[in-house]
Symmetry: C2
């Protein structure tokens, strides 16, 4: 099963292991290249990246590996917020900013043409694989990228979303279970209805689409990767497992938090970005609970300074410590060693 | 892996498939015996059963099978509610009762010695396996049952709860993932912190206990059972999959609802019993949302008449339609056929 996956052919990889394209600086070119060099698919999390930073990272990746790799981008939305709403949230964030000694009034700045610029770089740099989160791009974009030979991966959190991804021409789909750390990829139903556990989601999705399915959510080792494939997936995407890797660009406090967290200590919160995401419960999440955030990505723009400064001042209680529900399985290893461990474990399980 | 499980030896079964001891009339003696005769472990859900009904059911099971079987009981709590609280909930339930044309004032009656009486029957009838939900019984009870040769299975929803089960002498532990239908077995943390997906829960539990682990939550077929074992479990417990079986005593409306439900249509609610449980969203759940229920099992006692009458009047919108997150995988088959399908599918996966 392991070696005959059509996903390996599609993505031109040796092992059905995909490193999630986590945004926020986690996916350094070194991490992406290390994963690809080890036979998996490294993915640059370019969701929030400025086009020129993205280009530099892609060029760096290409200098570090000749293997296939991916870039993840966020399908944009048209958020809106009134001055009153922005003031209300700025008011809520004031105590955090005061404590950290940073400026109080922030205007959320969102570049509405970011996605188009990112896609241009993607094509110019001939990125082999592109994955999308938060929706499905327009027909013309999909057509264009496919014409350029880019392999496209969508994200789904329900059976319906997986079917939509297939109908719109995605070459493969990530089925993201509720265990997953970071943002929910949900783009149809409300997020609460879309919190389907990986054990439930994978076989139900696999029964309803014919494109390759990539399982995500709670998968950290060879057991999880093999179990995903037994459930009907063609491969697995790991996020949290790579955050604590040596090559990961995650903040040291973020890595430490995951390495010392229990499975009961993560929660869903929309307070950091405006979209629900799973992270380790801390003071920021607790104090913002019950307060409506701005639409994504406006909330993200407003909290950015706090998160950045909190990391600098070593205040993990105000950082976004994204983590899935399997932190007890996290390790601090090189990406290559991790992939080798998964492959060995899978061989033992399949023997 | 499939045939060498220590769980098979412990429970004296041929296949690592356990039918969950669901309460509320689902687990007829015919269902329990059919599962055991097919090589799995049938379990009588005796949680709410009066001792003499329980005895009759056990005797009936013994007349239908000579194989091993289990009985599930609920570890009791000492609930309390003031007259005011009871009136408040009765007031909330009034519109439902009016619509159904049943009496309005109900006093929650709870037999505080039920558990002791149930254990007495269990011992007298020499039940081979006893499983517990909602906690771990006192030391003396565990000691006593083990002396009688009863194999004991506990329920855990977190790693800590699994460790407690092992420390208290349970012979095996069910690790119940958040996908599971019906009641959460949580007895330490708040239920929200204990909503860990099966993909995350099983390997983390397996790494922390040495007793056999039985995976539960979202498992409906051979894929799920095999995936559980790949994750480190010794077997799997299936609930929802057996509700729609021919031999199940579930109300026809309950069976129909599961067979036609999507994975996004279940929710957690404490409105029926006072304890959080996963069921198909309906009018009762929606209208009770935001209203604090009485402690379990007082709330259960208050809503009992409504659920019973709703079934008689064919009003599924007021029934407790327990279901896990994999309803798209449900089938209407005999229990023997289902177990045979799981075994065949497992053989194909493992070959």
């Amino acid at each position: 099963m392991w070696n005959h996956s059509r996903l390996l052919e599609l993505l031109k990889i040796n092992h059905p292991i995909i490193q999630a394209g986590m945004a926020g600086g986690v996916t350094t070119p070194e991490l992406v290249a290390a994963v690809s060099n080890a036979g998996g698919l490294g993915t640059l999390g370019a969701g929030y990246m400025a086009p020129e930073d993205m280009r530099k990272s892609i060029q760096k990746i290409k200098s570090l590996t000749r293997k296939s790799f991916g870039v993840n981008v966020f399908v944009p939305e048209r958020p809106s917020a009134t001055e009153t709403e922005i003031s209300r949230v700025n008011e809520l964030l004031k105590p955090f900013r005061n404590e950290l000694g940073i400026e109080n009034e922030t205007q959320p700045e969102v570049d509405e043409s970011l996605f188009d610029k990112q896609l241009k770089v993607l094509k110019e740099e001939k990125v082999p694989v592109c994955s999308f989160t938060f929706g499905i791009p327009e027909k013309a974009i999909i057509h264009d990228l496919k014409n350029e030979g880019v392999v496209l991966i969508g994200t789904a959190t329900t059976v319906e979303e997986a079917i939509l991804n297939e109908q719109h021409g995605m070459d493969a789909v990530v089925a993201q279970g509720s265990e997953a750390g970071g943002h929910r990829g949900t783009f149809t139903d409300s997020y609460r209805q879309s919190m389907i556990g990986t054990m439930s989601l994978i076989p139900q999705v696999a029964d309803h689409v014919s494109i390759p399915v990539i399982a995500a959510g709670g998968i950290m080792d060879g057991r999880g990767v093999c179990a995903s494939m037994v459930l009907g997936a063609d491969g697995a995407q790991l996020g949290t497992a790579f955050v604590t890797c040596k090559e990961s660009g995650a903040k040291p406090q973020h890595k430490e938090a995951i390495l010392h967290t229990k499975e009961t200590e993560t929660v869903m919160t929309a307070s950091f970005s405006g979209k629900p995401a799973r992270g380790i419960r801390n003071a920021f999440i607790e104090r913002m609970e019950g307060h409506e955030p701005l639409d994504y990505p406006l909330q993200n723009a407003l909290t950015k300074g706090i998160r950045k400064e909190a990391a600098l001042q070593n205040r993990p209680e105000y950082m976004s410590l994204w983590s899935g529900q399997s932190p007890r399985l996290s390790r601090s290893e090189s990406a290559a060693y991790m992939i080798q461990s998964i492959v060995s474990q899978a061989k033992r399980i399949n023997s």
